[in-house]
Amino acid sequence: MSVGLALAMLLLLGGGGYLLGRQRGVAFVASEGTSVGAVHSRPGYHGAFVAILALLPAAALLVAWALLGEGLIAREVLAGLPAGAVGPSELDREAFLSEVRGLVRGDYAAAFNPNAEAAAAAWKVAARRYGLVFGLGALALGAVGALWGWSRLTPQFRARTRVERMTMILLVVASLVAILTTFGIVASLVFESFRFFQMVSPVEFLFGTQWSPQTAIRADQVGSSGAFGAVPLFWGTVFIGAIIAMVVAIPLGLMTAIYLTQYAAPEFRKVAKPVLEVLAGVPTVVYGFFAALTVAPAVRDFAISIGISNASSESALAAGLVMGVMIIPFVSSMADDALTAVPRSMRDGSLAMGATPSETIRRVLIPAALPGIVGGVLLAVSRAIGETMIVVMAAGLAANLTLNPFDSVTTVTAQIVALLTGDQEFDSAKTLSAFALGLVLFLVTLALNIYALAVVKKYREAYD
């Protein structure tokens, strides 16, 4: 049974249920009158109630079919084969089934396994039969649900309350999807990291200063023993994301916010704020090639001109500068919010003392807004250290533990990309180390976010 047919069926059930329920509601109104309380719920709620009772069981059955259907068919097809037609191993069976599926879809003209043609025919028969069973089942179930719901309707039936509750449940389920997905991601990170830490000790990973993830594929390979000391990566991440980028972003972002909130004419602010927000929406890959093609060579030429002869064309400085520019709108928007949240009376109080606007900003507004600004900066740091595209393109992959901003460094995110792109064996320490890096990154940004939001929230409460 096709998806389109299933949807059409659900639509039919839902629409039909709605019309039936609504019609009954209209009839109630006709007999009981329109005064408040004569009929508990408006006809639309009666309709929605019946529609939900028709849709839910039918949809549940169709979802079950989508999840289980293929397995049921495969089992029946395999059971119908002559003995010995397929090899005993799981792999043989999978290969055979994928061939059968290909034949059924018409992807293959002929099959390798002589039994596949017959199996494909059997598959089609089984699929049609199961589809019919589940389709009719869903239709019947929906009809039963609709009838049951319809039979419960009375003028005083609280259809509205029930529909509202079901709406709420629907919303809760929708929000759970995002939360559960997050938990799933964390679980997979933790699980794969655990496998990695069985091969490499956590102490070496967290405190080692040598990062060279090439492991020997063959026993006789030379020079690729694999070293998983991630300190150079952590340092590179902090150096680019939390130091260089913030040196750029904090002053510029803060000054932007101060200008926009305190000095700019309302007309200018009306234009400048959205423009800044658009800047925040530029895809990071665009910043990435700007960093790699424009800024990095300029930084290298500058380094050579001041006598650093071994300057690399990929440098921490180039990546950090561009990342800082990328973060400016973020910092300025957070600082803007924090400054705007300082009550106007505070500003008036200072001005009325004879303070100049800049004294007012330095001595009253910024101290008052500081928690909000700090929170914003922490969120910005957390974004910067999780940023990938710019560092992949402009910072390089050499895991150097260096203070020289003209040197090439690498970050956690850039290494994860490098470790997982291309053909990799999935059970090597090299590949698995990406998960351990991801886990560390996740934990650090999570902690930063929680702390920053707590700071911002506490500050909001102070002025509400």
């Binding site: 009325a352 003392m353 004879g354 303070a355 101290p367 102070a462």
Partner: protein, 268 residues
């Protein structure tokens, strides 16, 4: 003292020595809207002058002209002539920073800075460089807090945040803050309207103590308060100054029917 009631159109000159601020034909526009329609008034040195009138009559707007706080409202435009000791405060030569040091202001809602009590009071003197040393500053802070009647309550916790005080204490802290720069005029914009009756009584007492040392202009919508604390009262209505004169005169024998109707509770 000249006891004659002044009117909007022809204010009688008060005796030369007591005049602190004068306003002639002051108009304030918010865009197209004329909020103050030609107000003329004299403020004397020794008195507490009260501005009364129903909400939206322009009394606060006019008050904010006297230290040019309306400059901070982008849409507001002020015309007319306002003088402090004979000096035009809207002239280009007048420095607004110095003006506001001479004409202090206390707001309707207490607005202490989120700093310590000490730093709140020291804020103005620091900005204007009034204290040469820490010891000087200590003296200024103590003197201001004493004058504001707050010293005994806070002397042991000057390092605590100003925002941690009660509403009435916060307002007295704001008065101490205004006093600390040694202004000549103090403008008070409904200073007790956010306070409970006991805190209000303390503020009124304080205003009475400060009278004579500073020229005080107070906006209030509480007529009993105006009667209690002020010597001169100006009644504003719909952006015009309806009547101005001795407080006793205004409350017992108003010349204008609108004033009479307002103070007898007919409207407002």
């Amino acid at each position: 003292m000249n006891d004659m009631a002044l009117t909007a159109t022809a204010p009688a000159a008060a005796a030369e020595t007591t005049l602190k601020m004068t306003a002639r034909d002051v108009r304030v526009f918010y865009g197209e809207f004329e909020a103050i329609k030609g107000v003329s008034i004299d403020v004397s040195k020794e008195d507490v002058t009260a501005f009364i009138g129903p909400s939206g009559c322009g009394k606060s707007t006019f008050l904010r002209c006297l230290n040019r706080m309306n400059d901070t409202v982008a849409a507001a435009r002020v015309t007319g002539d306002i003088r402090l000791d004979g000096q035009d405060i809207y002239s280009p030569e007048m420095d607004v920073v110095q003006l506001r040091a001479r004409v202090g202001m206390v707001f309707q809602k207490p607005n202490p800075f989120p700093k310590s009590i000490y730093e709140n009071v020291a804020y103005g003197p620091r900005i204007h460089g009034l204290a040469r040393s820490k010891a000087d500053m200590d003296v200024v802070v103590e003197k201001s807090l004493r004058r504001a009647g707050l010293w005994d309550e806070v002397k042991d916790r000057l390092g605590d945040s100003g925002t941690a005080l009660s509403g009435g204490q916060q307002q007295r802290l704001c008065i101490a803050r205004a006093i600390a720069v040694n202004p000549e005029v103090i403008l008070m914009d409904e200073p007790a309207s956010a306070l409970d009756p006991i805190a209000t009584a303390k503020i009124e007492e304080l205003i009475d103590d400060l009278r004579g040392r500073y020229a005080i202009v107070i906006v209030t919508h509480n007529m009993q308060q105006a009667a209690r604390v002020s010597q001169k009262t100006a009644f504003f209505h719909l952006g015009t100054l309806v009547e101005y004169g001795d407080t006793r005169e205004i409350f017992t024998n108003p010349k204008e029917t609108r004033t009479k109707d307002y103070i007898t509770g007919r409207y407002g």
